[in-house]
């Protein structure tokens, strides 16, 4: 049995899209393989200790909560970047994803510093990108798998030319609604707009993150985890993917009246 040490960043602030569903999936899927998850919440005053964690999680929030945490998170940039560099796994969703880039400009023009871990920038735009999404990913060479989720963001994320997206948008908007790409991946770090939450209906990504975290803990290379019976997960994935294919995001662009623009995450 291995204890996987998880740092959950700002659980009190960034939790808007059912982020605890992602945590529950990581915990149970580790337990069903005989491992254990030790989850530590890291808040404003807490520092990231080198080597103390195997997996990081950052959830979504509204502009208001993002403003409250942005400066603190960017002050943690150095140890966070070092952790990913030395093989830790990381999942950041929506607001957390945006703050891992170099900068985020919120809907009312608020400039927020980013961590600079992922090679991207985000600027909130007109109209929220809302709807079901389906991605095709090739996280392991030659193995194409899909991710199904829901997106709801005003931010338009632009990847640097050298950046690697998480996947290709099959249906929905993705990073900016135009490029055809969604998310960003760097070593064991994954940033994405997909919630739903993401991991329950996409268990392969949960297992990919767990395998990396286990390898970090034990000092070896990531190896495939023992397969589980994922019938319910496959069923939920199929329904969610079907929703995206049946209209998904593209039919659902929200144009708000000028006087009543949403604050955007």
């Amino acid at each position: 049995m291995t204890t996987i040490r998880v740092a959950h960043l700002y659980p009190d602030y960034l939790n808007i899209y059912a982020d605890r569903g992602n945590m529950a999936v990581l915990r149970r899927r580790a337990e069903w393989r005989g491992h254990e998850l030790e989850i530590t919440g890291l808040g404003m005053a807490d520092s990231i200790v080198a080597g103390a964690h195997d997996l990081f999680y950052i959830g979504g929030g509204q502009d208001r909560e993002q403003l409250l945490v942005a400066a603190d998170l960017s002050s943690k940039a150095e140890p966070l970047i070092a952790a990913v560099e030395e093989g830790c796994a990381l999942l950041a969703v929506c607001g957390g994803y945006q703050l891992l880039g170099r900068r985020y400009r919120g809907f009312h023009g608020e400039e927020m510093p980013g961590v600079g871990l992922l090679p991207l920038e985000t600027v909130a735009g007109e109209g929220r990108l809302i709807g079901n999404v389906l991605l095709e990913c090739e996280v392991e060479p030659g193995l194409r798998r899909t991710l199904a989720g829901f997106e709801n963001h005003a931010g338009r994320t632009l990847l640097d030319p050298r950046a690697r997206p998480l996947g290709r948008v099959v249906c929905g908007y993705g990073n900016d609604g135009e490029s055809g790409w969604e998310g960003c991946r760097l070593k064991g770090a994954v940033g994405t707009y997909l919630h739903g939450p993401l991991l329950p209906r996409n268990p392969w990504l949960a297992d990919w993150l767990l395998a990396r975290a286990l390898a970090h803990r034990s000092g070896g290379e990531p190896t495939a985890l023992e397969p589980l019976l994922d019938e319910l997960e496959a069923g939920a994935h199929a329904v969610s993917a079907g929703r995206a294919q049946a209209g998904g995001g593209a039919a659902a662009v929200r144009r708000w009246p000028r006087r009543a623009r949403p604050a955007g995450s």
Binding site: A236, A252, A263
Partner: protein, 458 residues
């Protein structure tokens, strides 16, 4: 281009459409005439509302607006003939339909969707407005909570000074709307015995509205509703004009409490369960008071009230029964779960999740609901609706035995399966989202178990 038709022509036409809509089987037809009226003559709503001799009152909240409005109607119906959108059509078109079909009404009483509130208030010009709470709900439709709060702030700021504002002081964002308004009335709970040990997972407005520091809670009752104070700048719950004290929760049947005002207090026996319904009763009672009702009228109305459409409904099915409890967002569903479990945890439940526009197309909210106390007592769970498998995963990753989960997406089959598993004389607990609840209503109507809601509403 809009024609300004004589009002009488609009109304006749719109009523014909409502009747046709029902004949065509499109449900209650409760918004169709209003939509037509809005198209034919956009200014008609303003004129119809202005013609109400006793004016109008408006109720909004994320949770409890249908129940609050129905309780207020029960209190006020002896004082005035009401135009009340009882069937829950709460957008501008629903208000318009109600105005059209309520001939001879003296007082308008309207529940209004949170996002529609600014426009309805601008058009209807109410005498009084009750604002209950703001929780995260249908983020795919409303955008973020802050946006709705901001719209409310601007709508309230634009109201004439004479408009009576009734706010829930226990919700920081809503309570703050009373700030600086002399005619505002505040209500809240004052019974720390019933406070939760801490803020729930899904608590929303937990940071100071002035300075962003997390509030200290002397008592948290429902979600982020409670007695709060900011340790940094001192922003705190406003003084309560109306309070509920000495609250006794009595399972699924009732709750008894003291309705305390500056004019005195009355012991109220409310035939609804749960703390959240105490909030609804306070909102309705305080609104009725602002409209001139006496304390005795309020207490009598609260005592007479029985549940609003679909919110908490018992339907006999042969020798068994259905207990329907609507779930639609984390804060509301948490209270349903808490009330159910405190009333004797069920061993079997049907939970139905749809992702229609009225439910919210984004189903992630079910992961923010504290279903765990319900799951702990269940021997079997039947999940239903278009997103039944998502519910199955919610239970699986809560540690619920997958062998005890039955996935039955079809609502009618799920209810039949649930009833089959229910012992003679027993009651089947069904927790549907909004459109699933409408589906259930159709089902029980088709089977002749209850009258359709538009007939009951008449």
């Amino acid at each position: 281009m809009h024609l300004r038709l004589p009002l009488v022509v609009d109304i006749a036409g719109a009523k014909v459409v409502a009747a046709l809509s029902r004949l065509a089987g499109a449900g209650g037809g409760t918004t169709v005439p209003g939509k037509l009226l809005c198209k034919l003559d956009p200014g008609a709503i303003d004129r119809l509302a202005a013609a109400l001799p006793a004016g109008a009152a408006v109720v909004s909240a994320t949770n409890g607006k249908t129940t609050t409005t129905a309780i207020a109607a029960e209190i006020l119906r002896g004082r005035a003939r009401l135009a009340h959108n009882r069937a829950g059509s709460n957008l501008l078109s629903g208000v318009a339909s109600t105005l059209l079909t309520s001939r001879g009404a003296e007082l308008g009483l309207f529940e209004v969707d949170e996002a529609a509130l600014p426009e309805v208030v601008r058009r209807v010009r109410p005498r009084a407005i009750s604002l209950g709470n703001l929780f995260r709900d249908q983020l795919d439709r409303y955008g973020e909570l802050e946006l709705v709060a901001d719209r409310w702030r601007r709508a309230v700021a634009a109201l004439p000074a004479a408009t009576r504002i009734v706010v829930n002081a226990d919700d920081p964002q809503v309570g703050d709307l009373a700030h600086g308004r002399e005619t505002a009335s505040t209500f809240g709970l004052d019974d720390p015995r019933l406070a939760r040990s801490g803020l729930q997972h899904a608590a929303d407005s937990k940071y100071c509205v002035r300075c962003g520091t997390p509030y200290d809670y002397a008592a948290a009752y429902v979600g982020h509703l409670g007695d709060y104070r900011c340790p940094a700048c001192g922003h705190a719950r406003p003084k309560l004009d109306v309070a509920a004290r000495a609250i006794e929760l009595d399972g699924l049947d009732r709750v008894v409490f003291d309705f305390v005002t500056a004019d005195g207090s009355r012991r109220v026996d409310l035939g609804l369960p749960g703390l959240y319904n105490v909030y609804n009763a306070l909102a309705a009672g305080t609104l009725a008071q602002a409209l001139g009702a006496s304390l005795d009228e309020i207490a009598a109305g609260l005592g007479r009230f029985t549940a609003a459409f679909g919110r908490f409904e018992r339907i006999p099915v042969g020798s068994k029964g259905l207990l329907l409890l609507l779930i639609k967002n984390p804060a509301g569903a948490n209270e349903v779960v808490r009330t159910l479990v405190e009333g004797g945890a069920p061993r079997l439940a049907v939970v139905a999740l749809n992702d229609g526009i009225a439910d919210g197309r984004d189903v992630s909210w079910i992961w923010d609901v504290d279903f765990e106390p319900l799951f702990e007592g269940l021997e079997r769970l039947v999940v239903s609706g278009d997103r039944a498998t998502e519910l199955a995963l919610r239970a699986k990753y809560a540690g619920f035995d997958t062998q005890a989960i039955e996935v039955v997406p079809d609502l009618a089959r799920a209810v039949d399966r649930g009833l089959e598993l229910t012992p003679e004389g027993g009651e089947l607990v069904v927790l549907p989202t909004y459109t699933a609840m409408l589906g259930l209503q159709r089902l029980v109507t088709q089977r002749g178990l209850v009258r359709p809601y538009w007939e009951r509403a008449a």
